[in-house]
């Protein structure tokens, strides 16, 4: 019971509509965890509660043995959780390098040190040739990579990825998967991803949680999940006898 992140019985309602109800899961240090589920299942709501966008109505979120529910987003980030946004939010007027430097300045005191770290990260994400261009000139796949690069520059222990594969071509998706694998292996960064692209989920995640109507209906390895009748039911509809 000593996961890096423990989500314990959290619930959240919006004007009476239960978005998440009594959800619990745990992410051990060093793992890659995926949260899947149909649209409106409450995935992003859970993400936002972990990231501090809003507090849960009930339940606890424990990160590094410290309760973090109710902290502000910047405090959560400072505690060691980096996040990306489903709809990318680049600093459009700043250059690609400056975008990443903003993230790097959280742990680096000088701009020079932040620049150095940022250049290394840009190299990893194949954005180094575009470092001087304004972020607004990037294509969508590039913006997605920039989003991850920026979050990584804050040197998180846990990285939350909100549908970073959406809209990518299969080869681009595979390249991203490779980057995350390498990151997880070399730096030991724990990753929690929300994803619709099953190709990426199956290739990356060692553990999958399935959300449906705000509840965690199944948990297990990718192989177990694809055979779970409850999962098949929520994705494909109830099995009917003919």
């Amino acid at each position: 019971m000593n996961g890096l992140l423990q989500v314990q019985n959290i619930s959240k309602s919006f004007r009476g509509l239960k978005a998440v109800s009594d959800a619990s899961f745990e992410i051990p240090e060093g793992s890659i965890h995926a949260l899947i589920g149909p649209n409106g299942a409450g995935k992003t709501t859970i993400f936002n509660m972990i990231a501090g966008v809003f507090p849960p109505d009930a339940g606890r979120i424990v990160f590094l043995n410290r309760e973090i529910q109710g902290l502000r987003p910047d405090q959560v980030c400072a505690a060691g959780i980096g996040r990306t946004f489903q709809i990318v939010k680049p600093f459009a007027g700043l250059s690609v390098l400056e975008n990443v430097m903003v993230g790097a300045l959280l742990r680096e005191s000088s701009a020079a040190a932040a620049r150095k770290l940022s250049l290394e990260i840009l190299e990893t994400f194949r954005l180094a040739p575009k470092q001087g261009l304004p972020a607004s000139s990037l294509t969508l796949p590039e913006r997605k990579r920039l989003e991850v690069a920026r979050a990584l520059a804050t040197r998180p222990r846990l990285l939350l990825l909100d549908e970073v594969m959406a809209g990518l071509r299969p080869t681009e998706c595979d390249q991203m998967v490779e980057v995350f694998r390498e990151l997880n292996r070399a730096a030991g960064t724990t990753i929690l991803l929300i994803e619709h692209v099953m190709r990426a989920v199956m290739a990356l995640a060692r553990h999958i949680g399935v959300l449906h109507h705000g509840e965690v209906i199944a948990r297990g390895s990718p192989q177990e999940i694809v055979r779970d009748p409850k999962v098949l039911e929520c994705y494909l509809g109830e099995e009917t006898e003919i």
Partner: protein
């Protein structure tokens, strides 16, 4: 990079030598340009860098002017001491506005409205303040024009010119420096996307407060200069909405968020305004309000054709 330094050197030499060949009228215009450039730079820290629109910056000019002016008027305290009191008062005002707005999530146009409201009710407050003679205005002792009294910031016109040149240069360098620091990066991140900035660990409340404090402190110095340059202060004049707009037109026309924008904008607008007056006098045209119409048309043209301001356009043309 080298080209820029050469251009800057030429500009600096020209400005330093200006009083030797300029007449009194040209010198007063140049002083006004530098004053607007400096104040525009101060406003730019808040809006251009941190993205917080203030439409009530006359508040800081007014409070700065009245605090330093009042201390001089009543206690004979010179501007060099009064400056710090003025600065402290303006920072206090700025932080109060910032706290109210940022703590309760007021942003964008609503924040701008709040800044107007503060400037307005401060104006009304000063209208009823006996200590500063209310709406009747406060008049500082005027010394002889050629009489030097540096301790009380009294001297010939070129002294005011050099004081303003020093301030404008210092503000330019300070802003250039700030943009390279953590604060500069964080402000721009907040300006571009506050939510994303916060997700990257930036305590947006604290950094926005810092931007307001620095901007208010810088603007208070404009106020002190104003008091000792013009020697008369009226609440309805110094706190007016028109003043606030006049202060921000420079950086808006020149280029919001750029270092040269406020300087270029201040020069362009002041020269344009006086140029139109001169041209109309030369043509012998005397139609009331015609100057404002021309002025408005030119501003309209700039905003339409150069929506990012003059400086980004020039920068591109000169390939700097």
């Amino acid at each position: 990079m080298k080209k820029e330094i050469i251009y800057l050197g030429i500009l600096a030499a020209f400005l330093a030598a200006f009083p030797w060949f300029a007449g009194p009228y040209a010198l007063s215009i140049a002083t006004l340009i530098l004053y607007l450039a400096y104040t525009g730079q101060a406003w730019n820290v808040m809006m251009g860098f941190a993205g917080q629109l203030s439409l009530g910056h006359s508040l800081y000019v007014g409070v700065g002017a009245y605090v330093a002016g009042g201390l001089f008027f009543h206690f004979g305290l010179g501007p060099w001491a009064g400056l710090w009191a003025a600065m402290a008062a303006c920072v206090a005002f700025g932080l109060a506005i910032g706290f109210l707005a940022f703590r309760f999530g007021i942003s964008g146009v609503y924040f701008a409205l709040l800044t107007i409201a503060f400037a307005e009710f401060t104006r009304i407050g000063f209208d009823h303040l006996q200590w500063t003679n209310g709406p009747g205005g406060m008049f500082l002792r005027v010394a002889q024009r050629d009489h030097w009294d540096l301790l009380n910031f009294r001297g010939p016109p070129f002294m005011y010119y050099y004081a303003m040149l020093f301030l404008a240069t210092a503000a330019f360098l300070a802003c250039a420096f700030l943009l390279r620091t953590k604060a500069g990066f964080y402000w721009q991140a907040i300006r571009e996307n506050e939510e994303a900035a916060q997700a990257l660990g930036i305590n947006t409340f604290r950094w926005k407060m810092l931007a307001v404090a620095i901007s208010a402190a810088m603007t208070s110095v404009s106020g002190v200069f104003f008091a000792f340059y013009y020697n008369n202060l009226f609440p309805h004049e110094i706190f007016s909405m028109g003043r606030s707009i006049e202060l921000i037109l420079g950086p808006v026309i020149g280029g919001v968020g750029t270092l040269f924008g406020p300087i270029l904008g201040a020069a362009a607008l002041t020269l344009l305004s006086d140029g139109i007056t001169e041209a109309l006098a030369w043509l012998g045209v005397e139609i009331p309000g015609i100057k404002q119409v021309f002025y408005g048309l030119v501003l309209l043209a700039v905003v339409t054709f150069l929506p990012n301001g003059i400086w980004p356009f020039i920068k591109k043309q000169m390939k700097l």
